[in-house]
Amino acid sequence: MSASRLLRWTIPLAAVPLLALLAYGFRTDPRDIPSPLVGKPASAFSLTAFDGQPVSLDALKGRVVVVNFWSSWCYPACYEEAPSLERAWKAYRDRGVMVVGVNFQDQEEPARRFLTQFGHTFPNAPDPSGRVSVDYGVYGVPETYFIDRKGRVRFKQVGPVTDQLLEQQIETLLAEAA
């Protein structure tokens, strides 16, 4: 094989792995990072809610818990999902489901205004040191974690939750034995 023929084949051949890599890279969403926490025990936390009540995961053992991370500056996503969270809390509280809101990187005044605006009745607590957020691997708001009765994280939603998603996830976890 002469040098020119070798060249004629090596250049297109060299492009093949490059194209394959690009095809793979452009198809994946760099923001879609799978949480390593799904299937693992949820980190315990103890926070003080805006109303002064203690909120701790240990106190919720044996219950299905929905932990939602939000901010008042997270517009529109947090504002879109807020009514759904309140609806889910009202619909499922009698069946032992707990909804907990964790206020992420926010200031107290606008956070309280947010809670008043949506009339949230489930506990919401600020995370001033950011420790709970890091323990849950939060990298933006809104993010919502579904914790089963055994205290394991079973699903992580990045972005706003909907009525449908809340119902589907909560029903799945409620259907499981304690």
Binding site: L6, L7, T10, I33, P36, G130, S133, V134, G137, Y139
Partner: protein
């Protein structure tokens, strides 16, 4: 004095642990922070980001180091929570190993290719064999050489 000894021991212990906590220098915190991705930023390390989240992550790094964890253990904590995505340099194993190996492999393959081609090219224009001398020409050369020498 004998009764004071345990107290003295406690004091030594307290000073010792305070010294261990004090050994967590900003250099060490910065070193760990520089290897971790600021989670709310685009391609910025925790050390480089001025964001509130990065400040809090630095506080967590400092606290864990002061609690006696090694820099590796602190990094492992963040990896446990965020996955290897949190590390600015991908780990050198599994699929991520490709990122480390492919550029060097490509460079090696390119060098080999260039060497092969250069050798081929330098060999090709080899001097074509000179046409055999005709008997006439040989006789003429010998004659002229003899003339020059005489």
């Amino acid at each position: 004095m004998r009764r004071l000894l345990p107290l003295f021991g406690l004091l030594v212990l307290a000073v010792g642990s305070a010294a261990a906590a004090a050994q967590v220098t900003e250099d060490t915190v910065h070193d760990v922070a520089a290897q971790l991705r600021c989670v709310v930023c685009q391609s910025l390390s925790v050390a480089d980001s001025p964001s509130e989240t990065a400040h809090q992550m630095k506080a967590i790094i400092r606290e864990r180091l002061a609690g006696g964890e090694s820099p590796e253990q602190v990094k492992a904590y963040f990896v446990e929570k965020y996955g290897p995505w949190i590390l600015l340099s991908p780990p050198r194993r599994g699929f991520d190993l490709l990122v480390w190996v492919v550029p060097f492999a490509g460079l090696g393959a390119g060098l080999v290719l260039v060497l092969v081609l250069v050798r081929r090219w330098s060999r090709r224009p080899a001097v074509p064999d000179a046409a055999p001398l005709s008997a006439d020409m040989r006789a003429r050369i010998q004659r002229e050489m003899a003339e020059r020498e005489s």
